[in-house]
Structures are given as C-alpha cells and as structure tokens.
Symmetry: C2
C-alpha cells in the first residue's frame, strides 16, 4: 500500500516545491515580536503563531501538500488518516478543498473541539478506544477495504516537506527583519514539523541551532537524539499535551532530525500551563498545551535567551473552552 516516494528522504527543494503548492491556500502566518517578552528574557523572541493557520495548527500545510499530489485516479476512493486532532483537521480541510472524501480515525477521548471541527470540514470521523484498539489497524482496514490512501501524520516525505514551509517562512521572515537566528525551538510530537523546518533552516540559516521541545515523560525525541537511535517513552502518567503523545520519533523524521537537530528540551505540564496563561495574558493568543511547550521552554529558562535571537513555534490553538478556562484561571 505504501508508495516508495513516501519513504524518500525529502530535501530543501521539496520544501520549496511544497511552498509553491501551498501558495494561496495556506496562511502565511506572521512572525511576531512582543517588546515586553523581549525585555523579560533579555533577548529577542520571534514567535511563529501557527494558531493563526487554517484549521488552527500547522498540520494543514503537510496535509495539503500531500493530498494535492494525489493522482486523479486515486482521489475518488478518498483519504484516511489517524490523529488525535490537529492532523485530523488539517487532512479534513485539505481534502474538502481538493474535493477528496476523507475518513479520520480519532480517539474517543480527543478534545471535543478537535472532533467537532474535523466533522465541520465534512470528514467522516471514526472514533476508537485508545486503550483497546490500535489506530494503525483501524486505518489499515479502511485503506484495504476502500482502496483509500493513507495520509500519515509525520512519516511521509510530502508531509514533512509541507510542514517545512513553516520553517521556510520563519527563515525568510527573520531575514526580512534583519535578524540572524541563534536558535529555533519547535514543538515536537512525531517530528514532522521539526524535520521539515530543519531542512529549511539548515539551507537558509546555517548557523541556527535547532531544538525540539516535548512534554516531560514524552521526550522520546530528546532521548533518541542523545542516544543516537530511536527510543520509546516509558509507560507513565499522561500529559496535558494531547497533540504530542507520539510513542517514539518517526522513522523518516528521525533520519532527518538526528543529522540536523542540536538537541531536545522537555517541560513540565505546569510550565506548559504557565505558558498558555502567559500567551493569553500577554500575547493575546489562544494556544493549546502541545502548542505552548516551546514558549514554556523559553519562559522557564530551559534555554538561555539573554543576548540571543530565538524563534519558536506556537504550533496549535485547538483547545476546549472549559479546559482553557481552568488553565487561565490558575
């Protein structure tokens, strides 16, 4: 079922080609700077708010890049994806724009806003029990049965290249501001946004170090980078970061990241909640837990910002109002 092209390691040229495909469809999100944040950390922090992207996260970029390349003959059978929520919405919205039917396999306990939004884009949503069923198997069944195309969340060359357009924009926007980036911090689940952005930064801003940020207990990428091979998370308590619970780095993403990423940081749920509250109060941006970890790393001093110019992603903003209310109320 898997086309070989999916497993080809993407290049900077693939990221550029993805940017051309996305032009006019994805939002070129701004690169924002907040004087009060700069003063607080004693450096410059350039913020890429992918919360403002179509579907409220960067995931639309990869999904559109993938589905828009689907051969005409494969479109009527549709696409299938499994996702805890943001990839689901990205695939659903991209498929609708391209008139391709979409079926999304989502955990029954995903945030309600993510399930509702996915349905609102016209996708069929199949809920599964995260503790009793393997989502890959549910999705594989649909692919076999319908002849549909599986759109993987990160281990796919076209997905990685699409997410990389976020990094491409960061590099170009920072250059347009006359800023040399010392470091880029990326919120990291399976590693697709990191890998794609690393391809872009390595080409356009070679002196910039690249760092993943993950929730504590789910810092499989950080530990894998340190070990030089893919290691899995140990069983443990869950995290508020529903978007960043991948069990191990992706195969393809790790092949890229091990060569280009400097290292990984991890933040606690408490630091993540504090970053969400900071974003509400000071940046006036709505950020979901998994989208706030890179900001959390800066605010909690896990990376030195003094005298430096950092860029970071706020990678998604799809958060249930009830949960958001409890977070900002402290």
């Amino acid at each position: 079922m898997v086309e070989p092209a999916q497993h080809r390691k993407p290049t900077f040229a693939d990221v550029e080609a993805a940017a051309a495909r996305l032009a006019g469809w994805a939002v070129v999100t701004p690169l924002l700077e907040f004087p009060a944040l700069n003063e607080q950390v004693g450096g410059r922090v350039l913020i890429k708010p992918e919360v403002l992207q179509r579907t409220g996260s960067f995931k639309f970029r990869g999904a559109y890049n993938k589905i828009s390349q689907l051969p005409e003959a494969k479109r009527p059978a549709g696409v299938v994806a499994y996702s805890s929520g943001n990839h689901a919405q990205g695939v659903a919205a991209a498929a609708r724009l391209l008139d391709v039917p979409a079926t999304i396999v989502m955990p029954a306990d995903a945030p309600a806003i993510k399930i509702e939004n996915t349905r609102s884009y016209g996708a069929e949503v199949l809920l599964y029990d995260r503790y009793r069923e393997a989502r890959e198997e549910v999705a594989a069944g649909l692919v076999a049965q319908r002849g549909a195309t599986l759109v993987r969340p990160y281990d796919d060359s076209d997905i990685i290249a699409g997410q990389g357009t976020c990094g491409l924009e960061i590099a170009r926007q920072a250059a347009a501001l006359g800023r040399r980036l010392d470091a880029l911090l990326v919120c990291c689940g399976g590693g697709g946004l990191t890998a794609g952005s690393a391809l872009a930064l390595t080409e356009l801003s070679p002196g910039t170090t690249i760092h993943t940020v993950e929730p504590e207990g789910f810092d499989d990428t950080a530990r894998s980078l340190a070990a030089g091979r893919r290691v899995a998370n140990d069983p443990g308590p869950p995290s508020v970061c529903d978007a960043l619970l991948a069990p191990t780095p992706g195969e393809l993403t790790f092949t890229i990241n091990r060569g280009l990423v400097t290292g990984g940081l991890a933040v606690t749920d408490e630091e993540t909640r504090a970053a969400m509250t900071y974003a509400f109060r000071n940046l006036k941006l709505v950020v979901e837990p998994g989208g706030a970890v890179a900001l959390a790393a800066v605010l909690s001093g896990k990376i030195e910002a003094r005298g430096k110019t950092l860029a970071l992603t706020l990678s998604g903003g799809n958060v249930d109002p009830q949960f958001f209310a409890t977070v900002i109320a402290g």
Copy 2:
C-alpha cells in the same frame, strides 16, 4: 493649561509624522485573513489585531506620539491621564519608555488586569469612584498641583494622529495584498481611532466607506453622525464593553468624523460575547468586549460582507481571565 496645538485639527501629514515617531517602538501589527471566516460571510475580511500591539491595544500609538513630543522642560513634572484601562496602559508604557513619570486616574471598578498592567509599567494609579467623582476634576487637580501635562484619551491632535497610524498600516497592508477595501469598521469609544484612521484611509484609499461600531445604548457617535451634531447617550443599563463607554463623541474627533465617516453601527452585548467566542474558537485571538464589536457587526450581518472586502479592528485584548472564561464557556 491646554496648549492650542491640542485643538488643532490633525491632517494626514500628522499621521505620517506619527508613524515616523512610532517606528521601532510600536508593533506593526499584521493584517490577517482567515479563509474560514471569508467563506462564512461570502466576502473577504481583513483583520487588524491591535490586541498584538504593545500593551494589548492601539492606545500605545497615540500615547507615545503625544508624550514623545513633550518639551524637555515639561518632562520631569510628568503626565497625568484618566482612563478606564487601555489608554492608562498605553500612557504608562509610553511614559516609561520616555523616562517620564506617569499618574493614571482609573475607576475603582475597572478590570483588574488593566489596573495591574498599568501599575506594572511603573505608573502611579489613583483609583476614583466612578459614581461619586468626576475623573476630569481628579486629573485637573493633579495637573494644577504638579504642573504635569494632561494626556487626554482622544480629544487631542497628537493622540488622534497616533491612533491614525493603525489606519495607515491597514491601508498600506491591504494595498500590498492587492486588495481594494470597500469598507473599514472601527471599534469606537471617544472616536480617536476612528478619526485618525479616517484621515489615513481618506488619503490612501478614497473609495473606502468608514463605519464606527459601538455597543447598543452607547452609540452616541452613530446617533451624532445621523443628527449632524454631538448628542449624548441616554441613561440606561451598562454594557460589557468597558472600553467604549464615552458619554458623547469627542469635540475634536467629531469635527473630523462628521466629515469622513459614512455612519455608525451598534451591536448588543450578546453579539459582542458571540464575537469574543468566535475569536477564541476560530481566530485564536484573545479579544476584550470593546475590541470585539466590529467583528460582532460583521458576524451578526449588520453590514453586508457578501462579495465585498472589509477591514476591521480588533482594538484591544485586555480582559480578566474569569470574565473571559465565562464568555467562552457560553
């Protein structure tokens, strides 16, 4: 006490001069577009999120333009302002940047976040009882006693020119996107943002109609524009829009607005809350009630958006977390 220059009607050249003063100090906020919102209203809606401005509202623009022109000899005696909150923060932050002492007279029942933020910028805050004291008298006492300079919230040529840089950016950013604006909707209290923006749009985008948006019951500008003279709000129930409760249009602002503004719209508190919730859920922006009225006018169909290109301001985002939580929870 009042310098004659304050009462001079500002011109487009004053707005351009203000933009030069603000360069590097105010944030050039982006002009955002959301495909899902466009689809919903059947037109194009360009959003100017002044929630991302320094101090979380457009008010920093006018305050900095005013205080940066204060003669050296007048700086040590400081500035005084009265404000329900956003002008307070703008003046406090601008004064601190310019090393000028600031005293702000604020109602004791202003949102706590606005009082705390104003203090955090180093200003002295004097609370007064909105129902027993006249803020103008409290401020005039301080001016007389200290030889301080009063920074009015809107009826001042330099304040209007400063706020106009928001409209200047809208016109230039829309042109850079290749969009001709059919209409601009501005959240309106005393009319400073409207007047300054109208000066810019009339010069740079002469075919664009300009509309104020106010809360129902506080639509003094709409009724004044219709009557051709300044009329006051009737006594009535309060509004959630704490930032937009000016009793009448400003003298100087109305002199400008009566000639340049097409008309005024009014929205209910319920429509305002719905717009705040929409911004949370779909735009991922934190907007305070008074900053959401222009969006409310579009979402509630008070202005026809179908087939048109509209721009609107989200003029501020300083809202208490508890109140925000109750709004987004419905």
